[in-house]
Amino acid sequence: MVLTEMTSAGDEETGPFMNVHVTVNGAPRSATVETRTLLVHFLRENLSLTGTHIGCDTTNCGACTILLDGKAVKSCTILAVQADGRELRTVEGLETDGKLHPIQEGFIEEHGLQCGFCTPGMMMCSVALLQKNPHPTEEQIRRAISGNLCRCTGYVNIVKAIQHAANKMAGPSGGGRP
């Protein structure tokens, strides 16, 4: 219901379709989309990157969180055309060379997920946090993820998962990987 009106205003000016070029997880991708297409729909439907989820229509839940030029953003609140020429990172880009990112390991080791639906957004938000603040306190972690809702875990183990990743990334074997 929301989709139609959020976007119809732009149509007259920019025309209904536009070719969007982005770099996603290091690879160039492009597609022609209606200008009103939300970035999250562009990722999920045009680029078939379904790891980024949709959990609300009011920018509250954070299930769609991705990194846009390194910053955590809610991809349901950005138009695909606004991402043109920019760099995106999604959950699919966390694992490199068959090795899980420390945040992924943290979520598994600390049982930081149950149904898994909020997990990609939660992890991307955490990655952004750890880039800015490699040694966050529990309080800082809780504040950082307060825009990401989880209905299953009660957050205790998510906090532990992020601490796990922070330790791992700081440690000698972690290599300070972003």
């Binding site: 219901m1 929301v2 989709l3 139609t4 009106e5 976007t7 209606e34 729909h41 999920r44 439907e45 078939s48 379904t50 790891g51 980024t52 989820h53 959990g55 609300c56 229509d57 009011t58 509250n60 839940c61 299930a63 999604t90 959950v91 699919e92 966390l94 694992e95 899980l100 992924q104 979520f107 598994i108 080791e109 049982h111 997920l113 149950q114 149904c115 898994g116 639906f117 909020c118 997990t119 990609p120 529990e138 972690i141 809780r142 504040r143 993820i145 307060s146 825009g147 990401n148 809702l149 989880c150 209905r151 299953c152 875990t153 009660g154 957050y155 205790v156 183990n157 998510i158 906090v159």
Partner: protein, 777 residues
């Protein structure tokens, strides 16, 4: 010798491998060639006559292919469908809408956006009708009859009662002390982070496949067959990864049926995924219970009797998922952890102009309402008697030696040790020190409260003699196939929504079969492959399907024993199952592992025996299971803002034998958070016009990491005597037990001001108002 991944081990979850990579397969991830999208036109009115629906403009919207209205469905006899409580619900209205946001028409288009454009272009002309929001007013004479289609011309759906009315009246009259509280538990919404949706597709042979967010795929298949008149072998329901359920994904929503109709009408696969706002405005709600409870005791603090009267607001139809014999669910567990001699409960279900209510919120069967009632009013009674609430509970608990215990309202509690759990919680939190601190703080004018909740759960529905939904008995199932190389696959009639079944079921089987849990694949949710079962809700998976896993595995062991005897050239009676293999009694090195036996089952099975190593079990539980726990909550209240801050929350749970401690703890963390949510934050409110205030995440406040405290958990273990491995189930315990602990803590902090109860959610505004009034007075 332990088997890898057996019962009791905190192994990491198998399902995580795909979820952390973003490779889960949720319904909205399903994409089929030629797939169309369905979006729904919804009513702005809570009660209105539909004068007309004009679809001409909508059909001209680019990309729109079809619009479905109630009258289109009526022609196919599909405008109405049964609810799981054998009431009727509309797929689409023909004449009247009954609640705000009700489905009015469906638009099918070649993209999500076009479908949404089409929705805006559908013109509906409504004539508003008088709205009934308050269930008390709905019962008054002269109230508009909301369901004239029923024979009974009243808004009372049903009246249900249990217990000894006269005996209870008498016992209360003779009690030295009687306390009465009116408790309202508001309407709340489960709001799993994934909303509901489906993809419906017919193949060339007319077989329907529906990928659906459902917790009960098998029952849904049968309902579809009965409602749509489709042959059941031509229906396949696939419940893929589910992004949280909590009972909200048990009902059959109109959107599912509309997607099937649209697929039939257009000849294309059709996807329907609801928005969050649609989900929160129209999908099933829980609670909405107006409770009046009276409890009696002797002067020296011995409980005598309990009387509870309740008005249950079900909205415009009774669409709960209760066992059919129990319209108020298992609410009569309301005697809780106490051996009342007399008790009486009556509940009236009422229609109002709201969406279906009373369905589920991490508890489907009204057990939260019951636990909240008893734990709240026991606290009030202790206070009236001037007794410490912990001491009062200890004095009155059903003693451990009394189990199995028959409750005043007819339940047979399987096992328990309530004193043990409360003692442990008190030790962890250092109860006596907290009481001292509280007394000192009170002198300084600071507000601190300690709240206890010692709840008894009732789960694992249920025995076939009493439990059914739409006539389907509430068994559940497991089918195991051991492959020649000793690896296995097992399929179940349940469906995980985050509980970790792929891991825990494999652990039960690993323990029973001596195969590493890593070598056992678990599948659920595909009705073409899995055995029939009633699904996952009401904490029933471990008590029912988990038991079926054990029993099916033991059937396999029976056959394996014969094969092992054949291989070892001894009599089966000479063998014993020890250290996860069959060994000749007293000769441990003469043994056969399950892998060796499995290989023989396909290559060298004994003459006269069928080849293969498979078994299936449909488990009919002999009784329900009764998990329990004691929770202690410590709160500090900000006098200036009224904000309640949970300082500590200690949860001691006893769910019998634990299969995976890590997963159980995770379930308790989540359950506690869904107990905190209605206690302090969540409420679905309607104004007098039936207008929903707060139908999105902007107004309906799910707890974030900031509001949620750092839960502390501990356990006691009292196995169920009738479950094959002694497990009881745990998914809902914390949601059931937590709200009373929090409210008791807040009331405890304010008791010296004369406060005996505050209805949930306890918002800062409510507390501030109380403090403000008390200060003024």
């Amino acid at each position: 010798m332990t088997v890898h991944g057996g019962v009791g081990q905190s192994i990491k979850r198998k399902e995580d491998a795909r979820f952390v990579r973003g490779k889960g397969n949720y319904v909205d991830d399903v994409k089929l060639p030629g797939m169309l999208y369905l979006d729904i036109v919804r009513s702005p009115y809570a009660h209105a006559r539909i004068r007309s629906i004009n679809i001409e403009k909508a059909l001209k919207v680019p990309g729109v292919l079809a619009v479905i209205r109630g009258k289109d469905l009526e022609a196919a006899n599909l405008a109405w469908m049964p609810t799981l409580m054998s009431d009727k619900q509309m797929v689409l209205p023909v004449e009247r809408v009954m609640y705000q946001s009700q489905e009015v028409a469906a638009v099918v288009a070649d993209s999500r956006y076009a479908a949404a454009d089409g929705v805006v272009a559908v013109e509906v002309d409504y004539e508003p009708l008088p709205v009934v929001v308050d269930p008390m007013k709905a019962l008054e004479p002269g109230a508009p009859i909301l369901r004239p289609d029923r024979k009974e011309q009243t808004n009372r759906i049903w009246h249900w009662e249990v217990g000894d009315r006269e005996g209870t009246d008498k016992a209360l009259k003779e009690s030295d002390v009687v306390v009465k509280e009116n408790l309202y538990i508001p309407r709340i919404h489960v709001s799993s982070i994934e909303t509901c949706g489906c993809v419906a597709s017919f193949d060339a042979m007319g077989k329907l496949t529906v990928w659906m967010t459902t917790q009960a795929p098998h029952a849904i298949r049968t309902v579809f067959a009965l409602v749509a008149g489709l042959p059941e072998q031509k229906i396949r329901i696939i419940s893929p990864d589910i992004g949280g359920g909590f009972g909200g994904k048990v009902p059959v929503y109109p959107g599912y049926v509309l997607a099937v109709v649209a697929a039939l009408k257009t000849g294309h696969p059709v996807k329907w995924i609801e928005d969050r706002s649609e989900n929160i405005q129209a999908d099933s709600f829980a609670r909405d219970y107006h409770i009046s409870a009276e409890i009696g005791a002797t002067r020296d603090g011995k409980l005598t009797a309990l009387r509870v009267k309740t008005i249950a607001d079900h909205g415009y139809t009774d669409a709960a998922a209760n066992p059919s014999k129990f319209p108020a669910g298992l609410f009569h567990i309301v005697t809780g952890s106490y051996p009342f001699e007399k008790a009486h409960v009556e509940v009236d279900g009422v229609y109002t102009n709201k969406p279906p209510g009373g369905i589920a919120y991490r508890c489907s069967f009204r057990v939260t309402e019951a636990a909240f009632t008893i734990e709240r009013i026991v606290d009030s009674l202790a206070r009236k008697l001037g007794m410490d609430p912990a001491e009062f509970r200890m004095k009155n608990f059903i003693p451990p030696e009394a189990f199995p215990f028959k409750s005043a309202l007819g339940w047979e509690y399987d096992s328990g040790n309530y004193q043990g759990a409360l003692r442990k919680a008190m030790d962890i939190v250092d109860y006596d020190a907290l009481r001292k601190e509280q007394a000192e703080k009170r002198k300084r004018g600071e507000l601190m409260g300690i709240g206890i909740s010692s709840f008894t759960e009732i789960v694992g529905a249920g025995p076939s003699h009493t439990f059914d939904i739409l006539g389907l008995k509430m068994f559940d199932s497991c089918e195991i196939r051991i492959h020649p190389t000793g690896k296995a696959i097992a399929r179940f009639g349940t469906k995980s929504q985050g509980q970790g079944h792929e891991t825990t079921y494999a652990q039960i089987l690993a323990e029973e079969l001596g195969i590493s849990s890593e070598d056992i694949a678990i599948e659920e949710g595909d009705t073409d492959t899995a055995p029939y079962g009633l699904g996952t809700y009401a904490s029933r998976s471990t008590p029912t399907a988990g038991a079926a896993a054990s029993i099916a595995a033991r059937k396999i062991r029976d056959k394996a024993q014969k094969i092992a005897a054949h291989l070892l050239e001894v009599s089966p009676d000479d063998l014993e199952w020890k250290d996860h293999k069959f060994q000749v009694k007293g000769v441990p090195d003469k043994a056969k592992t399950m892998a060796e036996i499995a290989f023989a089952a396909y290559t060298n099975h004994p003459p006269g025996m069928e080849a293969g190593l498979e078994a299936v079990d449909y488990y009919d539980p002999p009784n329900l299971t009764y998990p329990f726990g004691s929770y202690i909550c410590v709160v500090d209240i900000d006098k200036e803002t009224g904000e309640v801050k949970i300082r500590r929350f200690v949860a001691v749970d006893d769910c019998g034998t634990i299969i995976n401690p890590m997963i159980v703890e995770g379930q308790i963390h989540g359950g506690l958070t869904m107990g905190l949510a209605p206690a302090l934050l969540e409420e679905i409110h309607y104004d007098e016009n039936g207008n929903m205030l707060g139908g999105s995440f902007m107004d309906y406040l799910l707890p974030t990491a900031v509001e949620t405290p750092k839960w502390e958990t501990a356990k006691t273990t009292t196995p169920s005597p009738h479950h094959p491995i002694g497990a009881k189930g745990v998914g809902e315990s914390a949601t059931v037990g937590a709200p009373a602990a929090i409210v008791n803590a807040v009331v405890d902090a304010l008791a010296h001001l004369g406060v005996t109860h505050i209805d949930i959610p306890i918002t800062p505004w409510k507390v501030w108002k109380i403090l403000h009034e008390k200060r003024a007075a």
